[in-house]
């Protein structure tokens, strides 16, 4: 296996924004524990559509934890619109790259983000 970058290790060692948000504005839930990865992404969005807070809970490998941590860091303070543009590539690059066999973790993070935003929109429109 290729090695993890120091950025990945940093986020794994000291993940940012671990936990849940009470009364979140959106939640994204992706993955399957049988495959070894589950991510839950919680977002709090203010009236200006800015993501004020983002938290995660993750069951998964080092890369899954690091990408979860990184994606919350990236989207915090961004507008929902901007956050929507964040791709798995963005996350992987911000982490200084990921081993090939671990790229699916960044895809999972992207999916969790999309689902959380979708959930936010749904809640808003009801």
């Amino acid at each position: 296996m290729e090695e993890y970058s120091s950025k990945v290790m940093e986020h794994f060692r000291d993940p940012r924004n671990v936990g849940t948000i009470e009364n979140p504005d959106g939640v994204g839930h992706v993955g399957n524990p049988v495959c070894g990865d589950i991510m839950e992404l919680y977002i709090k969005v203010n009236e200006k559509e800015i993501i004020e807070d983002a938290r995660f809970k993750t069951f998964g490998c080092g890369a899954a934890i690091a990408t979860s941590s990184m994606v919350t860091e990236i989207i915090k303070g961004k507008s929902v619109k901007e956050a929507e543009k964040v791709s798995n590539q963005t996350v992987a690059e911000a982490l200084g790259g990921l081993p090939k066999v671990k790229m699916h973790c960044s895809v999972l993070a992207e999916e969790a983000l999309r689902k959380a935003i979708e959930d936010y929109r749904k809640r808003k429109n009801t």
């Binding site: 296996m1 794994f12 060692r13 993940p15 671990v18 839930h29 524990p33 049988v34 495959c35 070894g36 990865d37 589950i38 991510m39 839950e40 995660f56 809970k57 993750t58 069951f59 998964g60 490998c61 080092g62 899954a64 934890i65 081993p99 066999v101 699916h104």
Partner: protein, 383 residues
Amino acid sequence: MKVYLDNNATTPVAPEVMDEMAGAMKIFGNPSSLHQFGVRARHIVEEARSRLAAALGCSEEEIIFTSGGTESDNLAIRGALKNTEKRHIITSAVEHHAVHNTFNELGKQGYELSRIGVDSNGVLVAGELERALREDTALVSVMLANNETGAVQPVREIVPLIRETSPGAVIHTDAVQAFGKLDFNVKDLGVDLLSVSAHKINGPKGAGALYIRKGVKVKHLVSGGHHERNIRPGTENVAGIAGLGKAAELAVPLKAGVIEKMKSLKQRLIEGVREKVDNIRVNGDPENTLCNTVNISFNNVEGESVIMMLDMEGIAVSTGSACTSGSLEPSHVLKAMGVDPVAAQGSIRFSMGKYTTEEEIEYLLEQLPPVILRLRKMSPLEG
């Protein structure tokens, strides 16, 4: 503090083995050469052969040196099948990939496979084997001890069953993990072929051997010169072979009470984890697993992250087998035992070695609980 608890992946090379190899490296002749440089190198190889034969309880002519356990397993299975027309082959559901994947490929080539299940402790169900045996069974391969759980298989018990129903079948056992940690000898076991690997017994990586019972035929997989009775051509890995011979001599089970020591460390490890971490499952029956191996599922956490966090504290452990590290598939061994697939994701193998100390186990028992706690706090699976 550095604590190496991944001895089933590989072991530190014993200082005695390093010395032996350093000496062998200076005797540089080709063992096939007629002159004195060659003769001296030949002596090294033959001395190693007799050390290994003594450790296994067989004669020198029954030992063929290879490049490791994987090659030994392949040579045994593929090489024996080259001498028969029969197409039915049997193995267990919990073999190492060297055997497991060889059977998969043989299946694709048209061989008829029977894969025998294991019980919840990872032990072969002998009754199932009995039902699978046929008169035209060509080969049975069941490992002596499992690399992931340490489960000891009833090889000695199944040999007479096989001989009775399938008298023509060749019986192979992968003893790579058992060698040095279990007291056995090939004559008692009664098998035809038995694989060992040096790097699991404090020898070098890249050296192994296959025991071939006198009279049993195995055909080479690669062609070349007449080395190793033409069963394994290629200039011999003289230093590696010397290392294997020395390691085998040092490893002869029970020598220096290493097995007893490991057993008590194992007990302490299991007790300590049970005491300090809840919601776990010890995989395999501790009474019937290798003296050095403990496999525990930590519910709601994923194995790789446990490995990495322990690694940051200087502790080396692993999930399943080293050769699938970084792979996404869960262990076929735990699956065959019926371990819940999510729990299997959080399974950790602790494997001790002859240099493991009590202190190291205590250090692990200090460091492990907070790691599990931390990961569980992050886990969406925790209530």
